[in-house]
Structures are given as structure tokens and as C-alpha cells.
């Protein structure tokens, strides 16, 4: 009886201490996440300008979405960006990590070069790429034209650089190109993963006469699948919320002809420029659902190819 009392006393003290230590997070959770979530859901059914109290209008905002052409475009642009930027980023990062894992000299040097772009402040790199992708004087087009001249010299058709952010057909590829440049963190993650692949497996494969490609296909990729899966999930969640680069590079316009209007940009405009805060909240919930569905989809399909060693 006495021991029982003592045990429950310790339990009570632990409970109190646990709550006290986690108090900051609990306050943050309630004040900055749970309450705002509930409020956002409520606003999404309201006409809300931010100045006057919200007025309930039922599913009006959601209905309006169906007729909002710009929203459809923004959604399309965002999905387009995600569908290309994430796989291209994964492939590039994977290739770089494989190269670095080939026991090269100067590993720290190369790793630094590939990682640096991803720590550059987003606004600074956006301004820089605006200049690099400049159609007339930009570095990228200067290089393309240089190659073009070589092609022309050997009798092939001369190629010219595209208009990038000035051309609605090339504006999204421009943003994707820039995103691939910032893929360094994934290189670091993959490299760590590659260094964990057991050597014996490669040796066994070699004994069986496997080619390098077969080793990559049947040893490396299965072992790396959890890492690839992880970056795919994080990449998709991040890309669907893509905002700052497109916003800064198009000066908040999403131009040309809305070809870089991203979902988050249009949401921001609705909230803080048009003061349609209720509509913005409805859009945010659509985004949330989209993210959940995309994540779920990756989880479902990954069950087939993600391999967890020993599990």
C-alpha cells in the first residue's frame, strides 16, 4: 500500500514536470497551431476582409474556386513545377552523390561546392538568377549561344537561348533549373546513405559477374530507397508551397501571362492584397488536402519499392 502510494506520487511528480517542461510547445501548439487551424477553417466559410468581423457565407468560397480561372492556372503551374523539380532534383542529387561516393580525392571540396547554393539566402539567389537568366545579357544564354556557334561551325543548325522568365513557355523551366541548383542538401543526405551500403554486397555482386549498372540497379538503389522516399516526400511538400523565388523573381506578379503564378502566391495576394482572407483560408485548406493526397500517394506507391534493410 505504501509502495503504491509512493509510485503514484512519483507518477504525479513526473506528470507535473513533463507538463512544465513541454509547456512552451503546448502553448505554441494551442495558440499558434490548433486555434489558428480552427479559425482558418471557420474563416474559409466566411466573407472576411480582416477589417470587419467575418460573415458566414457557407460554402461560397469553395464554390467560387470552381469558377476561378486564375486559381486553376496557379494550381496547374504549381503541379507542373512539382512534377519536374522534384524528380530532376532527386536524379541530380543522386548522380552527384554516386560520383562523390567513388572514393574521390577532395571530397570535402566537391561537397562544399554542391552544398553552398542551398545555403544562399533565397532572395539573394533569386536576384542572382534573375540576372543569370536574363535573355539578352544572361550567363546561361551566353553559354548556350557559345555552343550554338560551335554547332553552326560544323554545319548544324545554330541554337539560341530561350527568353526564360520573359517567355511564358520557358518561365517554369527557368524556375525548375534554378531549383536544381539548390539541391545540395539532398546530395549530403544521399552521400551519408551511400556510405552505409554494406561493401560485402558489392563484392558478392562482383563475384557473380554483375556490371556496374547491375550493381547500381540491384544493390545501390534498393538500399537508397528510404532516402529517396524521404526526399521525395519533403520535396513535394515544399514544392507545393513554393513561393519566395517565384514571388521575388516576378516581383509579385506571377508573369508573364500568369505562367509563374504559383498557388501560394495567389493565396498570398488574396489574403494580403485583395483582402479576401476567407477565400485565402479556403485555398489554404485545398492546399493542405493536396499535400495530404500527394504524400499519401507517395506512401502508397512506395510500399512497393522502398526497402528497409532487415525490416
Amino acid at each position: 500500500m505504501k509502495r503504491l502510494k509512493k509510485a503514484s506520487r512519483i507518477e504525479r511528480i513526473n506528470m507535473r514536470n513533463g507538463l512544465l517542461f513541454t509547456l512552451p510547445a503546448l502553448l505554441g501548439l494551442v495558440g499558434f497551431t490548433l486555434y489558428p487551424m480552427a479559425a482558418s477553417l471557420y474563416y474559409s466559410f466566411c466573407r472576411y476582409t480582416g477589417l470587419k468581423p467575418p460573415v458566414w457565407i457557407g460554402i461560397g468560397n469553395y464554390e467560387f474556386m470552381l469558377h476561378d480561372r486564375l486559381l486553376r492556372e496557379a494550381l496547374w503551374n504549381t503541379v507542373y513545377y512539382t512534377v519536374f523539380a522534384v524528380p530532376l532534383g532527386i536524379i541530380t542529387a543522386f548522380a552527384l552523390a554516386v560520383l562523390l561516393n567513388a572514393k574521390v580525392r577532395g571530397l570535402a571540396f566537391f561537397r562544399t561546392i554542391f552544398y553552398l547554393p542551398s545555403i544562399v539566402p533565397v532572395v539573394a539567389s533569386s536576384v542572382l538568377w534573375l540576372w543569370i537568366l536574363n535573355p539578352e545579357n544572361g550567363l546561361v544564354n551566353a553559354i548556350i549561344e557559345g555552343f550554338g556557334k560551335i554547332l553552326a561551325a560544323v554545319g548544324l543548325p545554330q541554337i539560341n537561348g530561350p527568353g526564360w522568365l520573359a517567355d511564358p513557355h520557358w518561365s517554369k523551366p527557368a524556375l525548375i533549373l534554378m531549383s536544381v541548383w539548390g539541391v545540395g542538401a539532398w546530395v549530403v543526405i544521399y552521400l551519408a546513405g551511400l556510405q552505409d551500403v554494406p561493401h560485402e554486397l558489392y563484392e558478392a555482386a562482383s563475384l557473380d559477374g554483375a556490371t556496374s549498372w547491375q550493381k547500381t540497379r540491384h544493390v545501390t538503389i534498393p538500399f537508397m530507397s528510404p532516402y529517396i522516399f524521404f526526399t521525395a516526400v519533403m520535396g513535394v511538400i515544399g514544392s507545393l508551397q513554393y513561393f519566395t523565388q517565384a514571388w521575388v523573381m516576378t516581383r509579385g506578379t506571377g508573369g508573364p501571362v500568369n505562367s509563374t503564378m504559383m498557388f501560394s502566391m495567389y493565396l498570398f495576394q488574396n489574403a494580403f492584397q485583395f483582402f479576401k482572407m476567407g477565400y485565402a483560408c479556403a485555398m489554404a485548406w485545398l492546399l493542405f488536402v493536396l499535400i495530404m493526397v500527394a504524400t499519401l500517394l507517395i506512401f502508397k506507391t512506395s510500399a512497393r519499392y522502398v526497402y528497409y534493410g532487415g525490416r
Binding site: 517542461f21 499558434f32 487551424m37 482558418s40 560520383l99 545555403i119 542572382l128 549530403v188
Partner: protein, 276 residues
């Protein structure tokens, strides 16, 4: 066989060098453009090595924008965020990793699940809350939340704390230490690398943040570097030399920080798998 592997090695180095050049070229262009005269900037074919060097892009650029005001504002916000994150996240992680109590797994799960929530969902209500508190156009909305924990950083620290042998904390408890004493005397000293990672990530996050300042700051004297640079870029979009000079100056502190803390960076990335 040996010949083939030699070819492979050479090919690997060639590929690495080509990729390195491609990844580094934008930096080179950033710095060289910042030192070019107007005439050299727009010349075709492009000038690879600027001559003469136009240093005045820097002096002009930094006086054109109230750079030092922006720098001060950014530092106030970033340093406060580091302090906030270190204090709150380490305490919460301690509560979730070291103290056994009922409901702890539930709180942890709840915290983790908020990582899935896009910021856009809470953006408008948060703006309303901060308006009611009278915090708009102050640094408070950009600082106070960091004192109330960050799910990702808490997760990172919790994983680290869990790896500390339980014997150490148990021994301290038997010696009659309070939880706060164990936190300060045992856990914090043993967790310096993880705490350094948290400090680094929260500093970088605040330094690079654009959306937050864009929502909450209006008065130009309160702008951060990101906000100031973006505004400068949209107003004086054709002054490329000056723009590149200011961009270089915004980037350099982060690059220097990286060189001093490379290990922490790389460890942090691999430990968590996520960019901060």
C-alpha cells in the same frame, strides 16, 4: 580490368569537375558582375574578368539601401530566434525524451503531425491574432513564436537526448537532483553538438526568411535584409552591378558561417535529413 577502372576514375573526375563548374559559375557571376562597370555588364559576348574593377557598386549599393538598418533588424530577429529556439526546444525535448509521464507520446505525436501542416493554413488567423495584440509592424510576430518551440528542432533534439544513456540521468536522480538540475548539469553539456545544430538552423531560418517579414513588416525602417533586397531589386531592377553587390553582401555572412561550422552543418543535415 585495371584499365577499365582507370577510365572510370577519369570519367568520374571529369563529371565532378563539369558539375562543380556548373554549380560554382553562378557564384562567380555574382561576384564578377558586382565589380563590373555598366558598360562591361551589358557587353556581348560577356566579360569574364572585369577590368577595371568597379568597387563603387558596393559603396553606392550599400548607401542606396539603408543596409545597416536592415542588417541590425535582421540580427535582432535572428539572434532572438536562436535564443528562443535553444531555450524552448531543449526544454520541450527534455520533457519528451527524459521524463517518463503519461501523455508524453501523445504530445510528441501531436507535435510531429504539425510538421505536415502548410504555413498557409494558419497564416491568416495568425495575422488576425497579431493584429489584435497590436504586434503588426513590430518584430514580435517574428520572434515570440520561436520561444514556443519548433516541431522540427524539438524532434531533432529529442532524437539526440534519447541516445544519451539512461544510467546518467538515473544516477543524477538518485543523487537527489531535480529535473531542472539534470537538464542543466547532465543533458545540456552532453548535447552541445545537437544544440549547435539547432542554433545554426534557427539562425539560418530567420536570416533567410522572406514570407514572415513580408507579412508583418511595413515600415521600411523595420525591414530585414531579405525584404530590403527584394524591394531594392524590384525598384532598381536594371542596376545589376549594385544589385549583385548587395546580394553578395547578404550572402557572405552565411557563407562565412558555413565555413566555420561546416561539420555541424553536414552532421545536422545527415542527422535529420532535412534542410533547416
Amino acid at each position: 580490368m585495371a584499365k577499365e577502372s582507370k577510365v572510370l576514375r577519369i570519367a568520374t573526375y571529369c563529371a565532378l569537375i563539369i558539375f562543380s563548374v556548373a554549380f560554382f559559375l553562378p557564384f562567380y557571376w555574382l561576384i564578377t558582375t558586382s565589380l563590373k562597370t555598366e558598360d562591361q555588364i551589358f557587353r556581348i559576348p560577356p566579360v569574364w574578368i572585369p577590368h577595371p574593377l568597379k568597387w563603387s557598386n558596393y559603396t553606392e549599393g550599400l548607401t542606396f539601401v539603408p543596409f545597416f538598418t536592415y542588417l541590425r533588424n535582421t540580427l535582432i530577429i535572428s539572434v532572438s530566434n536562436v535564443i528562443g529556439a535553444l531555450l524552448s526546444c531543449s526544454l520541450v525535448a527534455y520533457g519528451l525524451a527524459i521524463i517518463p509521464w503519461r501523455g508524453r507520446d501523445f504530445v510528441f505525436f501531436l507535435l510531429l503531425s504539425t510538421m505536415m501542416l502548410p504555413y498557409q493554413v494558419v497564416m491568416v488567423p495568425l495575422f488576425t491574432i497579431f493584429t489584435k495584440l497590436g504586434w503588426i509592424d513590430t518584430f514580435l510576430p517574428l520572434i515570440v513564436p520561436s520561444f514556443l518551440g519548433n516541431a522540427f528542432l524539438i524532434f531533432l533534439l529529442r532524437q539526440f537526448f534519447m541516445s544519451i544513456p539512461k544510467d546518467l540521468t538515473d544516477a543524477a536522480r538518485i543523487d537527489g537532483c531535480s529535473e531542472l538540475q539534470i537538464y542543466r548539469g547532465v543533458i545540456v553539456p552532453l548535447s552541445k553538438p545537437a544544440l549547435a545544430t539547432v542554433a545554426l538552423f534557427s539562425f539560418m531560418g530567420a536570416w533567410n526568411d522572406y514570407l514572415g517579414p513580408l507579412i508583418y513588416l511595413f515600415d521600411q525602417s523595420k525591414y530585414t535584409l531579405s525584404l530590403g533586397l527584394a524591394m531594392f531589386s524590384s525598384q532598381y531592377g536594371s542596376y545589376w552591378g549594385m544589385l549583385m553587390a548587395v546580394s553578395t553582401v547578404v550572402t557572405i555572412p552565411i557563407v562565412i558561417l558555413f565555413f566555420f561550422t561546416q561539420r555541424t552543418f553536414i552532421q545536422g543535415i545527415t542527422m535529420t535529413g532535412i534542410k533547416g
